[in-house]
């Protein structure tokens, strides 16, 4: 048993703002609605799953930092605040994980540069930087402790989770917020469709707050496997190595999304798995770095509601690594 537990979870997804919307969508199991994203220059809009407008404007949007904040920043901050809840943490570590990152403002800014660099907006450029969401989150929380932004494929979120847990375990921080976030853009959607037709990009964020245990029966992070990366081996081989290392549990939360060529490596790795399984991406879409925390949240939620006593999360990233994690009810 490890000494790091889940102190809170938060989510923004195509199902809506907050954990409740995510939970309802996963319980229902019906795919979220698909929207059309305009692709300039082509009369062929791209299918994506976007985060709907919030029913009520979240209070954190009134913070000065969020007035110009990009979509990804708003998702990350909202999920982070929900996960942190009422916890007051003196030394809070923040680890924010992204793959495409602030792609909307980056595209807009570069378009302005191509039009006329002399008039490109100085308001946009700072929001293009990978760590802008992490910076805004720290500012909204008034946090001055260590803050990392990690870039990689979606399995990187589990790397972030392991790093945050190691910080907590070693008393480097009193608690750690680990966030994964993405925003949808035609550039990202088109890029993935070059490799996988039928790819359904989604956007949003998920956050997990890690801390030391306080009471019994909390959900603990039991382990995070090694990073089985794709240096010198195939994605399928890496997925199998991850699955072997992860062992067994009551529930599997996988990353299968319904695009057969993409899913094959993960499906093959888990061919022997015959019991409980949840596949959040079939409902929510491929949220890249946001999707990995959605998977973790599904696992944690099942444990918190007594539907299992151990749950595994499998993330077979698109172009870097396969990593798994196991959560247990202490």
């Amino acid at each position: 048993m490890t000494g790091v537990v889940i102190g809170g979870i938060g989510a923004v997804s195509p199902a809506g703002w907050g954990l409740k919307a995510l939970r309802q969508a996963l319980d229902l199991g019906a795919p979220c609605p698909v929207q059309k994203l305009e692709r300039p220059g082509l009369n062929k809009p791209l299918d994506v799953r976007l985060v709907p407008a919030p029913a009520e404007r979240p209070a954190c949007f009134q913070h000065p930092r969020l007035r110009r904040g990009s979509a990804i920043t708003r998702f990350a901050v909202s999920a982070g605040i929900e996960a942190l809840g009422k916890n007051e943490v003196a030394r809070l570590g923040i680890i924010t994980c992204v793959m495409s990152g602030c792609v909307q403002y980056s595209r807009r800014f570069y378009h302005e540069v191509l039009d006329n660099p002399a008039s490109a907006s100085p308001l946009l450029f700072p929001e293009t930087v990978f760590n802008a969401p992490a910076s805004h989150l720290a500012s909204v929380l008034g946090n001055v402790s260590i803050n990392y932004t990690l870039v990689g494929d979606p399995a990187t979120f589990l790397q972030g989770l392991a790093l945050g847990a190691a910080w907590v375990d070693a008393d480097r921080v009193d608690g750690c917020l680990v966030v994964g976030a993405e925003e949808a853009d035609w550039v990202t959607s088109e890029s993935f469709r070059m490799f996988y037709k039928g790819f359904l990009l989604a956007e949003g964020a998920g956050a997990i707050y890690l801390r030391k245990p306080r009471v019994e029966s909390e959900v603990a992070l039991q382990c995070v496997t090694d990073s089985h990366n794709y240096s010198g081996r195939s994605r399928a081989e890496a997925a199998k190595a991850m699955r072997t290392q992860l062992g067994g549990g009551d529930l599997l939360v996988d990353g299968v999304q319904g695009v057969r060529p993409y899913d094959r490596a993960e499906i093959d790795a888990w061919l022997d798995w015959k019991t409980q399984r949840i596949s959040p991406k079939l409902v929510l879409g491929e949220g890249l770095m946001a999707a990995s925390p959605w998977q973790c949240i599904a696992a944690i939620d099942a444990l918190q509601h007594g539907r299992c006593s151990s749950a595994m999360v499998s993330v077979v990233g698109c172009n870097q690594q396969a990593i798994g994690a196991q959560f247990v009810r202490a």
Binding site: T2, G41, L42, R65, V98, R107, F109, Y110, H111, V113, L114, N116, P117, A118, A120, P122, F125, P126, E127, V129, F130, N131, A132, S135, H136, S139, G142, N143, V144, S145, N147, Y148, T149, L150, V151, G152, D153, T156, L158, Q159, L163, A165, A166, D169, A170, V187, S191, M194, F195, C223, V224, T225, D226, S227, N229, Y230, S231, G232, N319, Q320
Partner: protein, 401 residues
Amino acid sequence: MLFPVIKPVSQARVAITGAGLVSALGIGWRANAEGFRTGRVAFGPVTLFDVSRQRAKMAAEVRLAGGAEDEDRASQLLMLATKEAWTQARWNPSDNLSLVLGTTSGGMSLGEAFYRQAITTPGQRRGQPTRVLHYQPQRQALDLAQEFGFAGPITIIANACASGANAIGHAFELVRSGRAERVLTGGYDALSHLVFAGFDSLQALSTTQCRPFDAARDGLSLGEGAAMLCLENLEHARGRGVKILGELAGYGAASDPHHLTQPDPEGSAAFQAMSAACESAGIAPQQIDYINAHGTGTPLNDSAEALAITRLLGNASRLPVSSTKASVGHLLGAAGAIEAVVCLMAISEGWLPPTATTRATDALCGFALVREPTRAEPQCVLSNSFGFGGANAALVLRRCQ
């Protein structure tokens, strides 16, 4: 397992056994050491993209021979720096070697090329999948691992201009805590039009000359490059009989929530990062013999950093401080890594790099700004890196006893 990790009985000391770098001063340790020691200034007109409609026209470009067709500029810089460090450390291929990299933009020039083609000839796919793949920093990291024949966890930290220092600091913590015996680490970034135009739009680029800590400073100048370090457990390094270039002794990091692009005017997070680095190294700030400042040359950064250094040292009037951005510009994700190697050069070769372009030191500087080539025997040095978004990091390096 990435978690849980085995808790060490004691903290390991961290040796630097290899260092490689590329900057506008040249390729490799020797060319760079000579340039930094003498304060050579390596700026010239930008040739990589059109800057005719921008305020600033100068940058510190690296002169590269052509690389592979699908290898972008950032990857070439990264490969060159790694080759030098790897060879120096006499490392061999390994199945368990961690890689920790810092970058702000990965293969941004490929991303730009992708976008230009996507909007000018929509539907034309030629070359686009390659650009998508190699634009991403994790692809560049995997290419590096394959080239040098190693596998292990890859961590990419994108903490803006502190990325390189954060990467080295994280690698330091991996070795010190016993989670890794060896780590390859550093930072890299190539010049790109988007980033150049971005800093220009903020009016952060100097239209004259980058003059860190000058009373009349008017902004930073951009550069490009890469620097890589081979870190390993000191006992392990001694056991191999390899030359130890120096010891990485401490690391501190802090966040500045003041503003997305401006530091807290008092430099509170800079002070916190420097204090934490000293504490991590087990030294008092007064034991520092030289500080390689972040020193971008922007009015706001340099004044906040000057106040933070003065606050850290109390009476800092005799402490030598310089900014090597006067020579090679601001290398963004590579800056902290390049500057860590410059500190290593100073320790091992016995000199302090000057801030060669500064003419009249700002009165806020309560320390001795090094403006001329200087012989010295620094034992313990500190390197600062501060970034957009409030990422602040400091490293302590010392001569290995």
